[in-house]
Symmetry: C2
Subunit: 347 residues, 2 copies
Amino acid sequence: MKAAVYRGAGNVQVEEVPDPAIVEPTDAVVRVVRSCICGSDLWAYRGVIQRAVPARLGHEFLGVVEFVGPDVRTVAAGDLVVAPFQWSDNTCPACRDGIQTSCVNGGTFGAPGTDGGQGEAVRVPWADGTLVAVPGGIAGATDGLLRSLLATTDVAATGLHGARLAEVGPGSTVVVIGDGAVGLCAVLGARSILGAERIILCSRNPHRRELGRRFGATEVISERGDAAVAAVRDLTGGLGSRHVVEAVGTPEAWEMALGMAREGGTIGAVGVPHTTPQLALFPLLVHHLRVHMGVAPVRHYLPDLIDRVMAGTYDAGAVFDLELPLDQVAEGYRAMSERRAIKVMLT
Amino acid sequence: MKAAVYRGAGNVQVEEVPDPAIVEPTDAVVRVVRSCICGSDLWAYRGVIQRAVPARLGHEFLGVVEFVGPDVRTVAAGDLVVAPFQWSDNTCPACRDGIQTSCVNGGTFGAPGTDGGQGEAVRVPWADGTLVAVPGGIAGATDGLLRSLLATTDVAATGLHGARLAEVGPGSTVVVIGDGAVGLCAVLGARSILGAERIILCSRNPHRRELGRRFGATEVISERGDAAVAAVRDLTGGLGSRHVVEAVGTPEAWEMALGMAREGGTIGAVGVPHTTPQLALFPLLVHHLRVHMGVAPVRHYLPDLIDRVMAGTYDAGAVFDLELPLDQVAEGYRAMSERRAIKVMLT
């Protein structure tokens, strides 16, 4: 089969790789219908972090089950299924706590020895604990539905998780730092699931600002750094916001988050801190801040998000603004890296 | 009057200083009945942090009101009052949120231009928002009562705050790192106020271990570092603890806290991070940790803690294991610095 392969910074190719097969009795093999490129894929692409070469790429996909191992019970050949970006057994103590991304048997698609989502098919370990079947299957799935389902594999759930980590609830005021797909989905989750009242999005890109407003941002500020902190303070009577979602992971974003948070406020951080390995503790102590981080347990959110997508009330698929066939995956990476696209869908 | 004065690392003297007087109409002047030495006073004493020279010392005291300014309503001359280690107006947005240590008009006793608690009298700004009167006054106060009331000015409330920050509740398992007065009071608060079921205290000092058990520790481990992490993992079925109180502030203590916390667990940190200025973010992300810090808002806890002390159900005064007259304050610093005493009370 064909799959995207990482060959070093700036170098992604489509290559012929072995077809996946059932290895463990709990496996499934899924024929990919849609996959996409993640902001986190860009870290290695841009050379910010090292990655083994060659490596399989992609951890967001949905598809149709081709084969299942003899121990698989909840999905069957022919099912349209959504995969979270990590697999999980969904039975261990962490999974039972709703943090399937800490599963003792878990792992990430694209890790060494596994298939990536950016390919024609994927072996899925722990299929019962990982995959969620979509009612109605592929036959009834429109393009719009597939887009929004695809978003649930990572960004829709990660954005929602950021807002939850920030303890957003009914009537909350929240600032979202980051106008990538995750930040935009934090806006959507804060508004349509958690009931936030005021959502202040930091963005200066016209297209992203517009999508942020469509997803529920009540104010969009274009300032950066200290000026952004001042703008948020102005909008909140000088006090800052009780809830801040950090969806970037850079030192600049963390500084903004610390400056924008009200005394006693909560920062929900889902940006991967590759360039912010450490956080100053004194501001947390002095300002009584609560810092909540975590790799989004997509599997925990999937059943509810799929229901919302099926009901037509969760249009997270709007984050995909460029659609390419798998053969053109390299152009997809370029477009996202150059911020010409928010998020690229591969067909 | 006489007061303790910091003259440089290792050098504390009792000197003649000006008598305090009412400056603002919201002030009170309090004649000190009991004060004490704080673990945080030791940072400068040991030369770990710089402090202006000369500086007034001490931020924990209780006493009898001598004078009040014309705007003071809730305390009067002759009242026995407890002072939190910071003053606050108790009306600003932070105070209304219960974080009086972020009060816009707040400050710490002993800061430049203010009196310290280790002296014969103290000018207390914002007396109404700061002081809490003790029912029955000085006439009915036994030595034991004064000890436990004195503990509420900082350590009893700070320990309780650490346990609250760690989200300890009924039935919780919690690890307490730190066997100083704050750590021991975290044990007491977790047990007798928050209802924790298992409290694992890290201590190898026989006297502190015994007091920890008396305060409610169900297990006491003497290991340190990685061995302590392994011991806690052993005691918790390999999973770690959902709740960890960090009451030291050193890199070693933070490493233990991160290692002992269960996936998704909460670290409540009240140790002042002078030697741990930064915290690694990746472990928080990967292990879904919640980090809650804050300078304990003693004023928030005082009314309840005073009630408990008066009812005889909160014997935090047991942390004082050395009693000295103010004239011998230098010996008190030596004893605490050399860990010969948990906490020194000055009379």
